[in-house]
């Protein structure tokens, strides 16, 4: 069981706010903490994990929760 520190709900946000808000959020978090991102925009659901990996954070999981709904878990480096 992952200990989720914070949740960022960007469902209903339009392109590219899910990406921009996720990037801003992880900047403010501390090393080792886990961020849960909830997103309903397909392009961002694929792009956020890529961005997080390229920023050096650990991608724990990307899970499809339902129709056009994804949960992304990221551990801050």
């Amino acid at each position: 069981m992952v200990d989720i520190k914070e949740t960022l709900d960007v469902r209903g946000e339009v392109c590219p706010y899910p990406d921009v808000k996720s990037k801003r959020k992880v900047k403010k978090m501390n090393s080792g903490e886990v961020l849960q991102i909830l997103v309903d925009y397909p392009l961002s659901a694929e792009r956020i994990p890529e961005t997080m990996k390229s920023l050096g954070h650990e991608l724990i999981s990307v899970e499809k929760k339902g129709d056009a709904e994804w949960e992304i878990l990221v551990k801050i480096k």
């Binding site: 946000e13 590219p16 921009v20 801003r24 961005t51 129709d67 056009a68």
Partner: protein, 353 residues
Amino acid sequence: MELELFLLMLIPGLIVGFIFGFILQRGRFCMNSAFRDIILLKEYKLVKGVALAIGVQMIGFSILILAGAVTQNPKPFTVFGNIIGGFVFGIGMVLAAGCASGTTYRVGEGMVGSFVALIGLGLGAYMTKSGILSSTSTALKTTITDGDGNNLTVAGVATPIVMLIIGIVILGVFVYFHLLPALKSRKEAKESILDFSDMKTKIFKKSYPWWVAGTAIGILNCVAWLSSAAAGRNYPLGITSGWLGWLNFSVTADEAALNWLLFMVAGVILGAFIAALISKEFKLRIPKQGKTLLIQFAGGLIMGFGAVTAAGCNIGNLLSGVPMLSVGSIVTSAFIILGCWLMAYLLFMREKE
């Protein structure tokens, strides 16, 4: 209208549009994202897809022209019409959260904000084409043609040959820098080079890699030109004129407003809808904040003005016009990208904290 001509518009238009919408949705192929992400996320996949589509079309279009299947029909160079129209379009697409094609396919995914932006796009285009903005738009245009009065292309009479050469170079770059290294790494990993297993999942459930979407759209646009020409419209894919046509037809009931493109754009929404439904990505989504809807509507209006002033949106000018080496389309495309970058910088890249 004769029934035969109507059916030539209706059925092939819908089919091409359906496939286009399907690929756009599965490939997440939006040019607003493609250009914006170059500076915002340093992400180049989508823009590589756009470049590959243009390369494939340069080869396909030049073969169609040289074989006499279609005649060259580059868009005009109108100097400030292209510069200002393109720049304004680029600004508008960031506000609308999608280019003309991106906005259209997202309607099929159930994004209400894109639906609102699309209404804005049609209205803005209509106001600019035949309404209160038409004098402003016309005043910006000073058409420059070659000596014989033809629309200006980069290479003049040699255009089809130059298109073919540039297309082959682009394809060569793709094969050398992407395809061969990819095949080599598959070989080293002892995977089979062509993997046709599980094609159903790959086509219907998974998103398409940039090079699949780019190649597929490039090939589709060649078929689109043939199909459109057969129905009396000698041009490959476009988007904005299609929505403008629907608005025109619904307001005036004038049959002359109907053409192949109208059914094509309707097909895009249908194709994206079915693609999203199959992959379980369809959901009615409404922006959290009401003001987002207003911004997207304004973005659509602005895109409509830009597209009519530049004689084409990101599809008519950038995807279909650049491969024909139209000077107008190339200038418009450059300014679409600059407008997109300016707005993306202002909205997303200045740190607010």
